[in-house]
């Protein structure tokens, strides 16, 4: 591919194409629906000699992440892809990748977790891994998958960051849906990401290092504390790289996207593909004179709490949309973060939670219209119409 062109790609094809153009040193592959295609297509690129990658086929996702970590520690630009149960099986290795400050980039196709067995989209998988120390990028469509996978390399490998990053996108809704995607020339991608210069590498025998050392009551706390700083630094780096990407290729990215939020009186906070459906409802409401808006979270970790709270503080009523359930916490994880971020503001919106779309349940225009309808009532009354705290959480689109 020599020039910029607009082609039809599914989300998975977009992720694989980005990986091909990144041309990582090492990839580990293990299949899981709906992420299987990402590595399947990439394996074809390897077989066809279109990339220089060492492809390691492993026996489980735990091994996939272990192999990726080993390669990254050795100084290789390393990637893998997974989803759902696969991410769950990687669990202990996720924390190790972050703790070792290894800039691994992983397309992560959001699918719910068993049981009951279900292959469809919700965000339970990556939300469960939200505190593992990874950067979490959420994508609305195939274009964002492609662009974010490329940017994620720069973000993860930035000397002020050095953290693993997962590029999340909705299973089937995005992974298997074909949309127009504007792709970049191989050379432009290579130029944008630049060569990988690892800060430390296990195979550099002249400068020996220890990887995975024991660290008990004496220093563990300090090391964990020092892991938090780069995680917050990442916000600034993500914004700079998103800006640079926009200047070069015409699509600018930030920590979140504000859609008609400037003068909005009511707004939803959402991540993933549902943001696109919500835009249609917002346009409808705006045409009727309703001041509706949206804040689409792109970066969930690090959570840009101040920036998000600032953006929402002028709104009268906010509905947070959670595509995962906290299982007897107070609403879903996005609600907990957003509401907590707003707590210290004197002027803050009424904030309620809608848990939706578990196990791939369709979220329709009517569902989103009903949320804005609720927000209009809450804004007019100056309070949510609820009897107790638990009523702040509504299950949208479930049969009760």
């Amino acid at each position: 591919m020599s020039t910029k062109e607009r082609i039809a790609l599914t989300g998975n094809e977009a992720a694989s194409l980005a990986m091909k153009q990144i041309n990582p040193d090492v990839c580990a592959a293990y299949p899981i629906t709906p992420a299987t295609e990402v590595m399947q297509i990439f394996a074809q690129y390897v077989a066809d000699g279109l990339v220089n990658t060492e492809l390691v086929t492993v026996e489980s996702e735990h091994s996939a992440m272990s192999a990726t970590i080993g390669a990254a520690a050795a100084g290789a630009r390393s990637m893998t892809a997974t989803s759902s149960q696969g991410l769950a099986l990687m669990w202990e290795m996720l924390y190790i990748a972050a703790g070792l400050r290894l800039p691994i980039v992983m397309p992560m196709v959001n699918r719910t977790l068993s049981s009951p067995i279900n292959i469809h989209c919700d965000h339970s998988d990556s939300m469960g891994a939200r505190d593992a120390g990874w950067i979490h990028i959420f994508c609305e469509n195939a274009q964002e998958v492609y662009d974010s996978a490329i940017q994620a390399i720069r973000i993860a490998e930035h000397p002020d960051v050095l953290l693993p990053a997962m590029v999340n996108y909705d299973g089937f809704i995005i992974s298997h849906a074909m949309e127009p995607v504007e792709t970049l020339a191989d050379a432009d991608v290579q130029k944008f990401i630049g060569p990988y210069k690892p800060a430390y590498q296990l195979l550099d025998v002249d400068n020996p290092i220890t990887v995975g050392a024991i660290d008990l009551t004496d220093y563990y706390f300090e090391h964990k504390r020092s892991q938090i700083e780069p995680t917050f630094h990442a916000c600034k780096v993500i914004e700079e790289i998103g800006e640079e990407f926009g200047k070069q290729f015409g699509r600018k990215y930030g920590l979140f996207e504000e859609y008609k939020l400037d003068d909005a009186e009511i707004a939803i906070v959402v991540l993933g593909s549902t943001a696109g459906t919500a835009k249609v409802v917002i346009d409808e409401l705006r045409a009727k004179g309703v001041k509706a808006g949206m804040l689409k979270i792109r970066i969930f970790r690090p959570f840009p709490h101040k920036q998000i709270a600032d953006a929402l503080s002028g709104v009268k009523a906010v509905a947070v949309m959670d595509r995962s359930e906290g299982m007897a916490s107070m609403g879903g994880p996005v609600f907990a973060e957003v509401r907590s971020a707003l707590y210290d503001y004197d002027k803050r919106p009424i904030t309620v939670d809608y848990v939706y779309g578990l196990g791939g349940r369709d979220i329709t225009l009517d569902h989103i219209r009903s949320v804005y309808g609720d927000l209009q009532r809450f804004a007019a009354e100056g309070k949510p119409v609820v009897d107790s705290i638990s009523d702040l959480v509504t299950y949208l689109g479930v049969r009760e």
């Binding site: 089937f172 074909m178 127009p180 593909s273 549902t274 459906t277 329709t364 225009l365």
Partner: protein, 193 residues
């Protein structure tokens, strides 16, 4: 969304309902429009009823919910009628195109279609057997779809499809020619009641 067309494809696993939606998507993109093409996923089995979808618009499409009221329904296998509610959500001026050797009037009665709803039939399976050599009805149904709806420039769609198939079947030029003939014949032979 103004001026957005939604299509639902009904087929059985293995008949190419997904490929048909992807072919339409590619053809739409080649003509500078915006599109989505996506299958409905469930347990994947040969012969099981499957559906796939298209959205087509002159402006970018941000919707990511399911297609529930398609203006056009394409049925690749007539044995699905009765087993699957193929007219679900079809608007009062909707169009349904069926692969069958029966006349359109037969299905108007069988499906209980309203006056404003249009039904077209074409024997895509026979066309496919005679042109491609196998009962793969998806490419002829693409021809019938574009012929009936005029949603795309027919000749440009034909050229684009030829180009795509040539890439895919480099070693089998006969397959390409067969598919092109199938598309043309289906567009000519599709009939209303």
């Amino acid at each position: 969304m103004p001026n957005m067309m939604e299509i639902r494809w009904h087929g059985r696993g293995g008949q190419g309902a997904k490929t048909a939606a992807l072919l339409v998507g590619d053809a739409v993109l080649a003509q500078g429009k915006y599109m989505q093409a996506f299958p409905e996923y469930g347990p994947e089995r040969m012969g099981a009823p499957v559906q796939s979808y298209n959205r087509i618009s002159d402006s970018p499409i941000t919707l990511h919910c399911a297609v529930t009221s398609p203006s056009v329904v394409v049925v690749l296998d007539p044995t699905l009628i009765g087993a699957t509610d193929v007219t679900a959500g079809l608007p009062d001026d909707g169009v349904i195109i069926i692969n069958t050797n029966q006349p359109a009037s037969y299905f108007r009665e069988k499906l209980g279609l309203k006056n404003g709803q249009k039904v077209y039939t074409v024997d895509a399976s026979t066309i496919a057997r005679e042109t491609i050599g196998r009962d793969i009805p998806n490419t002829p149904m693409l021809g019938a779809l574009v012929g009936v709806t005029k949603m795309l420039d027919f000749d440009a769609m034909l050229e684009d499809t030829r180009h795509k198939l040539e890439k895919k079947f480099r070693s089998k030029p006969g397959v390409v020619e067969g598919n092109i003939q199938a598309i043309q014949r289906a567009a000519q032979e599709v009939n209303s009641d």
